[in-house]
């Protein structure tokens, strides 16, 4: 996702393993070449204020590459991860990318959860013919660009959900939970005014009526807002059954004020900060009852790989990974798999192999949309691939409510919430 990720910083985790020299881009022998390694560059903010999101990318990738190496590597070649500090800046990321490709000769790059950074790097993947897979960032533009200039930008793969996909998943969950279970009929969309919410809101406005929720109003809130009282006041005046949210940069203040003012309308949708395990404390429990989309949740076995990864991560690092930890972990694996299938580090062959990815990762089954889609190299979403989850904070715990087959709780709202048309 975009803006809020600007807040996320990383801890310095230098995983770099010395890599042996250079290797030509031409095909190399698969067996018997044991001294060579496959280099994967990783970009992230490695200095600056510590945050909840940053280091899981590195940690997730570390966990993965070590496991791959222990299992024999890729056709005898070990993976080496080289990290670059980009200070969350697009300009620095470009420089880092140039260095990574030209001097360090990385074979692929895992970069950023900030859409602005990814968009800045995208043209460079073509110029430097280096594959980039993103563990985060939600902008639809990333993959729309690939459709417009496939031959140059095919080296970019969007390893996370686009804003449009996120809206569709929220609508899918809303259909089951809000319309079918709670018989809701109306909604107000409330999102922060940022680049990532433009396509999100556009899709909300389309998909919500399709599942039976009439959109009464669409409010965009400045990310600098500190007092949400007038906004909640306005929304309450319109008497919707639910507030469908798109917030990320803001989180603590609207949530805490929602509770304090006892606004009787539930919040459902995207609230990225709520995915952090520390958010309960951050809001002094005000997040009770808030429903938010995530790709992972505690004790939720999205796939057979999910919980082993989470437990190992927690054992090693002492806390749960945030969403980009999962995606970075998966990316190392399916990149390694793609290298194997390509039988080469040649970037064009790697792209072909990646396009055929069919990998069960920790957040679902990873498949990429094809060349002819309006969003090439975006993740496929749906019941057979990735559905995400809909979680709700209950009594200090993140409980999963959707999809039903991995739910571990039931809807539960604080007393001040009024369900139904008695607002």
């Amino acid at each position: 996702m975009t803006d809020p990720n600007k807040r996320r910083h990383g801890l310095r985790l230098v995983l770099a393993i010395a890599i042996a020299g250079l290797f030509a881009a031409s095909a190399w022998a698969q067996d018997g070449v044991t001294d060579k390694t496959i280099r994967i560059g990783m970009f992230g903010p490695l200095t600056g204020p510590v945050s909840i999101y940053g280091y899981p990318i590195n940690d997730g990738a570390i966990a993965a590459y070590k496991a791959v190496n222990d299992a024999g590597g890729i056709n005898g070649r070990k993976i080496e991860i080289v990290t670059y500090d980009n200070h969350s800046s697009a300009a620095e990321s470009v420089r880092a990318f140039q260095r990574a490709a030209s001097e360090d000769h990385v074979n692929a790059v895992i970069a950023s959860y900030i859409s602005e950074v990814v968009l800045a790097l995208e043209p460079w993947t073509g110029r430097l013919k280096t594959v980039m897979v993103t563990p985060g960032a939600a902008s639809d533009v990333i993959t729309q660009n690939i459709a417009k200039d496939y031959d140059n930008l095919k080296y970019t793969f969007h390893g996370y959900l686009t804003s449009t996909s996120l809206s569709d998943l929220v609508c899918a969950a809303a259909k089951d939970l809000l319309v079918n279970q709670l018989h809701m009929k109306t909604a107000v969309v409330m999102s922060e005014d940022a680049a990532w919410t433009t396509p999100l809101d556009a899709e909300y406005v389309k998909c919500l009526p399709q599942i039976g929720l009439q959109v009464l109003d669409h409010i965009r809130v400045s990310p600098d807002t500190t007092d949400f009282t007038p906004i909640f006041n306005k929304i309450e005046g319109e008497k919707p059954d639910v507030m469908i949210t798109g917030i990320s940069h803001v989180g603590v203040q609207p949530t805490a004020q929602w509770k304090q003012q006892e606004v009787p309308i539930p919040m459902f949708g995207i609230s990225s900060q709520a995915t952090n395990s520390s958010f309960w404390n951050d809001t002094n429990g005000a997040v009770e009852g808030v429903l938010y989309q995530a790709v992972s949740g505690p004790d939720v076995a999205v796939t057979p790989k999910t919980l082993p990864f989470v437990n190992a991560f927690k054992a090693k690092y002492g806390n749960f990974p945030s969403y980009c930890g999962y995606t970075a972990y998966d990316e190392v694996y399916y990149l390694a798999d793609a290298f194997k299938r390509a039988g080469s580090t040649d970037p064009d062959k790697l792209v072909d192999a990646l396009e055929k990815t069919d990998y069960v990762g920790t957040i679902g089954r990873v498949q990429f949309k094809g060349k002819d889609s309006p969003n090439p190299h975006a993740l496929k979403v749906g019941p057979d691939t990735i559905t995400g989850l809909m979680l709700q904070w209950q009594d200090g715990k993140q409980t999963n409510l959707w999809p039903a087959n991995v739910a571990n709780g039931k809807l539960k709202f604080p007393k001040f919430i009024k369900i139904g048309s008695t607002n």
Binding site: P49, I52, T225, D227, N233, A256, E262, N284
Partner: protein, 291 residues
Amino acid sequence: MLFWQILIDGFAISSLYALGATGFALIFGVSGVLNLSHGALMVAAVVAAWAAGDQLHAGPYAGAGLGVAVGFGATLLTYFLIVRPLQQSRKIREEEKEIFILTATLLWGIMIQELIAYLYTNNAKTVAPIVQGVVRIAGVRTPSNEIFTAVVCWLVIGVLWLLVNRTRAGKAVLAASMNPRGVTLLGIELSQIYIAVWAIYGALVGIAGVLLGMFLGVSSYSVGPLTASAFSIVVLGGLGSVSGALIAAYVVGYLETLTAYLVSPAYRTIPALLLLVAVMYVRPRGLLGRR
């Protein structure tokens, strides 16, 4: 309905501004210092109260107490580390001291802001409210915390008034704001008065900060706007006049609230700043200013 909503909301935020601005005005009135680290000190108090709850698992009262204590301590630190050395420095010319102190407090405020962001990120923080729940006033559902905020602000202002007007020490402070030399002629140590004033300011900043944290929450980004708010209120009310600051706080608070409700929350700070510019043209000494 909206009228009552605005009236009540505006009252709570204005009371909070009044408390903070009173301290700011006091410091300027007595020791001539425009403390541009004002916002940073308030945010430090909030973050300390939040950290007490989050990391030390302190209850709301203990957390609030720690927050006030940190605000108080940080303010005194500001005085002894930044302000006093510059005031007493022989290397700076007298006429230039004010600018030096202004700049120094600004930079000090930025340092505190960045330290907070480094230690705790620039994500917003709220403090567990001591008072929870809502009440209905004229049909408007109002968080009890807002009423608590307004009550505490006025209690503290009331205590301050009693202190300044009814106690000997307080009267010395008042006298010092009018005529520092006269006070020294009476045999009262000016340096002690300064320390007393900064101590009072510290308490005000700590309490205002913690209340703000319980009411709306802050982030390290709030530092600038909070200082700007206090500054514009004090200038509007008349530099050095505490009662002027009180009135101006309500003017600014209500302007902001009206704007947030009737225009858009995104523009809430603009009218007050425009008013400030207008006042500078029309009546530079502010509402009740003396200097």
